[in-house]
Symmetry: C2
Subunit: 364 residues, 2 copies
C-alpha cells in the first residue's frame, strides 16, 4: 500500500511538474512533445560504389539528409550488385525490398517505353533545358504519372551534362563504318544505331572495360572524360569521339518507394525532396569541372586521339532518330503524350538558346 | 512539512519514471531531450517583393527552410525598401541589423572591387560554368574569404542565365552609337560602356521604367524577357537587343550574418546550406522556362523588335572589357587573385564547351 501511495503521489506531482515546466516554453514544447521516431533507409544504385559523379551523387544525398534530419533519417548507400543487381533497382523499389534507389530511367524501357525520355533522347535537350522542362514545363508531373502504377516516386537525381559519342576501336569516317559494329549503348541511342546497321549491346558500366578489351564489343559510350578516364577505356580503344548526339544532357533519377515516402513525417519528406534538388545541380557542377581536366589528362598523358563524327554521319543519325521517335509515338500512347510536351518545350528552348547561349558561344 | 514530503517523493519518483521511460527509447531520447529552441530570421532583398525570378528565389528558400525545420527556423522575406533600401542589404547583414539577405555581388563593388566577379563579368562564364567554378573550382572559398572581414557568409542564390543586352530608344548600328548614351547598367559592364563613350547609371529595378519613360536615361539593361515583360519596358523603349555580352550567367547571392549562422545548431545550418543550393538551380530552371515564353509575348503581343548588335560592336566591347579587367587586376591584389582562378577556369571550360555544347547547338 505504501508503495502504491508513493506512486500515486509521484504520478500526480510529476504531472504538476510537467505542466509547470511546459507552461514556460509552450511554443517549443508542442514540437518536442511527440517521441522522436527514427528511420533507416537503404539506397541501391546502378553504379559501382563511390563511382565518380554518378556514385558520389547518392552519397552526398545521404550525407545531406542525415545531417539535416539530425540523424532521424539515415540512408545507407549500396553499389550495384551489393544488395540488388544494377538493372533491378526499379523492381526492388517497386516491391519495397528497399526504400529508394539511384539510377537512369532508360534502363526501364522494357517495362515503360516512355521511360528513356526522362534520361536521354538523341538530339534532345541539354541539362539546363531538361531541368527547366522538368520543374517549370510540366515534365515532373508526367514522370510521376508514369511511375505511379509501380508505387515509385521519381525525382531528378543529377545530370552528367552532354556526353561524348564514345570509344571506338576503328575510325568512323562515314555512316557505313557503323555497319556491323557491336556497340554498348543503352536507351533510344541503341535503337538509332540499329537502323544504321550497328548491333547495340546493353552492359552495366562495370562490364564495359573487359568487353572492349576482349573484343566482345567494338565500341562503347559511357559518360564523358571524367568517368571514362576512371574506367581506363583508353587502354582498350584507340579513338575517342566527342560528338554530342545520343545523350545531350543525361538526367539521373532518385526513385523512392511511395509507401516508404508517405510514412515519413512532413519535415523529413521535405528534407528528402530538397536534398535531391541540391544534388541535382551539384552533380552537373562536378561533371563540368572535372570533365575538361580529365580530357586534358587523356590527351596529354595517355595520347588519346579525340575525333568528331563527319557532319553527314550526324545528319544520318538525326534522320534515324526521327524515325525511331515516330515509331515510339505510334506504338505507345504514353510515349506520344510525354513526347508532345517534351518536343514542344525543346523547340521553344532551342529558339531561345540560339538567340542567347549559341550566339554567345560564337561571339565570346 | 506534508507539502515538502510530497515534493520530495514526487521528485524522486519523477526521476525514477524519467529514467525508466528513458531506458525504453534511449537512442531517440538523446535527440529529443534538449528543449527545442526556435529562431526567427529576417531576410532583406534588393528586389521588389515577390518579383518574378529574383524575388521568388528567397520566398522559396524561406518555404524550404520553414518546412524542413518543422518551424524551428522561420524566415520572413522583405522586398527592397521595406526594412532596408535595396543597395544597403550588405551593410545591414554585416552590422547584424537583419540575419540574412538576397542580392547581387556587383552592387558592393564600391566596398570590394572584386565583388562583381561573383555576379557577372562581361564576356565571362555561363550559369553552369560559373556554378562549376564556384562549387568544384575553388570559387566559393575565394568568395567566402572576400566577405569574411565583414562578418558575412555568401552562398550562391540562383542564376538568371544569360541576360539580354537591353532596351534602347534608338538603334545601335555601330560602336559610335553608344557615345553619349545614358544607360542603366551595373557592375563592370558599366565600366566597359564608359570606355565606349556611354554614361553608365546605377538604378534599382523599380526605378528603371519611369527613368526610361521620362528620358532621364536612353537605355537600360535589366535581366531578360521574363523580368523585362513584368516591368513593361516595351512601353518605354522601341529596340530590344538580345546580344549576350555584359551578364553571361548572372549569379545572385544569399548573404548571412556569420554570427547568426553560427548560433544555429548544426542541423539548421545544414538546412540553410542545402535549401540555398536547391534554390540556386531552381531559379535558373524558372528563368529558362519563362524567358522564351515571355519573348514570344513581347514579339507577338507587343510588337517588340528584337535586334542583335553588329559583330564589330561586340568585338569593340570585348576589347574594352580586356582593358577594364587589366586595370582592375593592376589596382587591386584581391581582384587579381580571384581573377586568376576565374579566368583559368573560364579558359578550360570554354575549350570543353566548344567541343560539346557549342558543337551540339550547331549540329542539332
Amino acid at each position: 500500500m505504501k508503495r502504491s501511495l508513493i506512486q500515486l503521489l509521484a504520478a500526480l506531482s510529476c504531472l504538476t511538474l510537467l505542466l509547470t515546466a511546459c507552461g514556460k516554453d509552450q511554443a517549443t514544447a508542442s514540437i518536442s512533445a511527440q517521441p522522436v521516431k527514427t528511420f533507416q533507409w537503404k539506397l541501391v544504385t546502378s553504379w559501382p560504389k563511390n563511382f565518380p559523379g554518378l556514385g558520389l551523387g547518392p552519397e552526398k544525398f545521404a550525407q545531406y539528409v542525415n545531417e539535416m534530419s539530425a540523424g532521424r533519417l539515415t540512408i545507407k548507400v549500396y553499389g550495384a550488385g551489393e544488395l540488388v543487381p544494377g538493372f533491378e533497382v526499379f523492381d526492388a523499389i517497386s516491391q519495397g525490398t528497399v526504400q529508394m534507389g539511384h539510377s537512369g530511367a532508360y534502363y526501364w524501357k522494357g517495362k515503360m517505353p516512355a521511360a528513356p525520355i526522362f534520361s536521354a533522347i538523341p538530339f534532345g535537350m541539354t541539362a539546363t533545358e531538361f531541368n527547366a522542362w522538368l520543374h517549370y514545363g510540366g515534365g515532373l508531373a508526367l514522370w510521376q504519372e508514369l511511375y505511379k502504377p509501380f508505387g515509385v516516386v521519381p525525382m531528378a537525381g543529377g545530370n552528367s551534362g552532354a556526353q561524348f559519342a564514345g570509344w571506338f576501336k576503328k575510325e568512323i569516317n562515314s555512316i557505313d563504318d557503323l555497319k556491323g559494329l557491336k556497340m554498348r549503348i543503352p536507351g533510344l541511342g541503341g535503337e538509332v544505331l540499329k537502323r544504321a546497321g550497328a548491333i547495340p549491346v546493353t552492359l552495366t558500366g562495370g562490364e564495359i572495360f573487359s568487353s572492349l578489351q576482349s573484343g566482345a564489343i567494338d565500341a562503347s559510350e559511357w559518360v564523358g572524360p571524367y568517368n571514362d578516364l576512371a574506367f581506363g577505356f583508353y587502354q582498350a580503344a584507340d579513338y575517342y569521339y566527342s560528338s554530342v548526339w545520343h545523350e545531350t544532357g543525361t538526367n539521373l533519377e532518385f526513385i523512392i518507394n511511395e509507401k516508404a515516402l508517405n510514412e515519413l513525417p512532413k519535415d523529413l519528406q521535405k528534407i528528402v525532396e530538397v536534398a535531391a534538388k541540391a544534388v541535382n545541380e551539384d552533380m552537373l557542377d562536378e561533371y563540368n569541372a572535372r570533365n575538361n581536366q580529365a580530357l586534358q589528362t587523356l590527351i596529354n598523358q595517355h595520347q588519346v586521339q579525340v575525333r568528331e563524327f563527319p557532319k553527314d554521319v550526324l545528319v544520318a543519325l538525326k534522320g534515324y532518330t526521327q524515325e525511331v521517335i515516330a515509331e515510339q509515338v505510334a506504338a505507345d500512347p504514353t510515349f506520344a503524350k510525354i513526347w508532345q510536351s517534351y518536343s514542344e518545350f525543346l523547340q521553344s528552348m532551342r529558339q531561345y538558346n540560339d538567340l542567347t547561349l549559341k550566339a554567345y558561344f560564337e561571339n565570346r
